[in-house]
Symmetry: C2
């Protein structure tokens, strides 16, 4: 693709000063933030490019300077969300060396975020977004916990389906209803019990500190 | 609606002999069976009426004698599936007076059926089918179990989201992969543990007989 670009444009991009690069990043972030709302409202298949242009308040030419199709934009939006939220969660749990604690804290942070940011929840539910980073972290922790005997389940995949399915169905409820503030901890407890933890160990994992996370702006350099 | 129908047509329907009624029921069942496959392949929104006509091998005029839109057909297909499978499951569990046993057996029968009939699983996953009868039975049993102390969860809705979400995510796997024959019992065990049952009581509920169910043909009179 790069080779077919007009020579002049690529030369301009290479020597663009910092301020222009930052403006470009801001415009990209603005399109992605608008895209999340559009995909949340209309699902992954129905939106047309005009929807994104209108929501972001940009010109058609500007849109095409960043993305060439709604599919490409959906991929970029998922990647942006994953970068922002999942990296924030991973930053919090990577210092923990117990897979049970990492799983419990990850579930709590994910659900807290879902309650606080309903547009995000709607996007996840409607787009059937599955972040590969989340899957990797989750299956790694389940595998470690099963190997150590902390978790009890006949396979990683059954345990993974319970965790992911429960969270997704709960997010559908979050989109539609007001939920209690205790929901993240309540649900983490049920999940840990399902994975074979005793009440006492489940309560201990849920009682650990789970710092408030803040969405960074990953589009800025 | 009935009042606006042409008089002649309704008179014909009223006096139609049994054999014609049965033929009509068979054609309807044929359209519904084809519709389930079409919705499973294309999802709830994409199919057009030509897809159903082709899949059922009927004339356009025949289709419109039964259904007027794809939305109406989607509703009828869901109702037909609900009638067939859920009534069969209910017939098996209604004699049980323990809500824990009813829930465990319902989950096992539902998943067994999902493994045996992949077209049905695909339809449920893609259409986001939620049978009101299933919801009613499930929430009733959860409520009874919570009231008696057999189940432990902070609310019926959290327990319901865990059961429904886990089953739906498992059905997504069933659509894509070969799963072990023990999956229904394995998953029922995890769900019962999540709901606060001990290993021993969970094993007891899962060990109960769960008769093989056969899909009836609900379209026949």
């Amino acid at each position: 693709m790069v080779a077919t670009r007009p020579r002049k444009k690529s030369a301009v991009a290479d020597h663009r000063p910092r301020v222009a690069r930052e403006r470009r990043a801001r415009t990209r972030a603005r399109i992605l933030a608008a895209a999340m709302d559009v995909f949340a409202a209309k699902g992954p298949d129905a939106p047309v490019i005009d929807d994104f242009i209108r929501a972001a308040g940009i010109a058609r030419g500007t849109f095409y300077a960043y993305f060439t199709s709604t599919d490409e934009l959906l991929d970029a939006t998922s990647a942006w969300l994953e970068d922002s939220l999942i990296h924030s969660i991973q930053a919090e749990i990577s210092a923990m060396d117990d897979p049970v604690l990492r799983l419990a804290t990850g579930v709590r942070l994910w659900l807290r975020w879902s309650i606080e940011d309903r547009a995000w929840s709607t996007f996840v539910v409607r787009s059937r977004f599955r972040g590969p980073l989340v899957e990797r972290q989750l299956t790694a922790d389940l595998r470690l916990g099963l190997a150590s005997g902390a978790f009890k389940a006949p396979s990683v995949s059954i345990a993974r389906d319970l965790v992911v399915g429960t969270i997704l169905e709960t997010m559908r409820r979050i989109v539609d209803e007001k939920v209690p503030a205790s929901l993240p901890e309540d649900l983490a407890r049920l999940i840990l019990r399902a994975l074979g933890l005793s009440e006492r160990l489940a309560a201990k994992a849920i009682g650990a500190p789970a710092p408030r996370i803040k969405r960074p702006n990953p589009a800025l350099p």
